[in-house]
Symmetry: C2
Subunit: 247 residues, 2 copies
């Protein structure tokens, strides 16, 4: 028996998110079924980030145990032959038997992409949120500055989510503009349910001038989801980096 | 009666190219039908670049004549309501009655995008050609240098294409690398059928080391389609810029 770690990239457009749900297309479901067919074993992967419906990833992580004699590093090639083209394994390797992707110290980086043009651009529509309302990037940056560091992010957590603590640390929260695209890049040890999309929705409210950047401090302190901006559209969000620091 | 010019962006993935074909989804067909429904007239647009099946555009141009009293600059908004989301008008304006997009002096810029990674990245699959074979960008640039300027591009024209002259001028042919992506950017007054994709296919052959950069000179001189590289996949190609210089 060996434990194998997969790095998984996917276009989330056609999926009901990562987590297995009977009767729905999910990334986890596709991986389990492709692995089952390849290895002729019943396989259940453990995912690192259970991304939402419509969210994309360049590097989500899944681990599973197997008795196969296929070398771990060859599994990526064989598995890609059996996966739909909107899911592609980027690497496969053997890891310690007690490696668990959600019990590790890790840093995840998400990008939230916004297209800020007069009209939508069709070739960007699947991977960026479109808004024609001009966004002031300086104001978005000022607002973002209140969110970096360790905070209670209760106001930025989908209501109803059950979680022990809503305290999280954001290491970096940058707002970059290239041409007509604005990218919100956030790096943290972990995120609450919908946290990145609520941050994106709130920064866009600041960029539109609907709230002042200083307002973000009040929103944090309120610990009330109603105070923050809307949950931004899923298609703009991509998990772009996943670093495991230690067990 | 007025003549209206549309700038049209589209994701070509789901279309059999620009040009109207009965029974097939085409960009021209969608435009004619959306305009017909909006203006309650029979409309036939004249397209500037009749892009192939699967090719994308940020800024193709279409013109049509209409008796409508809708102001020309408002047509973009109304038309976008009636078009599928993979076609979006970027602007609409009234032009001179004798403006014809294919009889003008113009400069067109195409980008051919290549993803050069070990495995495909699903979120890039619709807009870039994937190859895992490492490409030497220096060699691609050396090969590209032989193609700039005025040449007889017969070797770079799909065989069977009927055309008066195969002489064309390339103003610029750049090969840029950003991360894992290579972009071939070509600017010219006009291109032969499949010319940009055959150039891309030939530069990739140089990048792989299958032909030497100097070989491109021989290929040009041969005036024989068989000598050049293969026609690169349509999905990598996007019309990115269209400038009209004069009537």
């Amino acid at each position: 028996m060996k434990r194998v770690k997969l790095v998984v990239a996917y276009d989330g457009t056609a999926y009901h998110g990562w987590q297995f749900q009977p009767g729905s297309r999910t990334i986890e479901g596709e991986l389990n079924s492709a692995l089952g067919s390849l290895l002729q074993e019943e396989v259940q992967v453990i995912g690192a980030s259970r991304t939402d419906s419509g969210v994309h990833a360049l590097c989500n992580v899944a681990v599973f145990d197997t008795d196969t004699c296929i070398p771990a590093d060859k599994i990526s090639y064989a598995l890609n032959q059996r996966l739909p083209e909107d899911i592609r394994i980027q690497s496969s390797e053997e890891v310690e038997g007690d490696f668990h992707p959600r019990h590790c110290n890790s840093r995840k980086t998400y990008e939230y992409r916004i297209l800020n043009t007069r009209f939508p651009i069709p070739t960007k529509r699947l991977y960026a949120h479109f808004t024609y309302v001009p966004l002031d990037v300086q104001k978005m940056r000022q607002a973002a500055a209140y969110l970096t560091g360790e905070h209670d992010f209760k106001s930025f957590c989908a209501s109803g989510a059950v979680v022990e603590s809503t305290v999280r640390t954001i290491y970096e929260l940058a707002v970059e503009k290239t041409g007509d695209e604005i990218v919100i890049r956030v790096c943290g040890s972990g995120f609450l349910y919908n946290m990145v999309r609520i941050i994106a929705g709130t920064l866009m409210e600041a960029g539109r001038g609907n709230i002042s950047p200083e307002n973000v401090k009040t929103i944090l302190e309120a610990k009330n989801r109603q105070m923050a901006g809307p949950t931004a559209q899923a298609c703009g969000l991509t998990l772009v980096k996943y670093d495991f620091l230690s067990q």
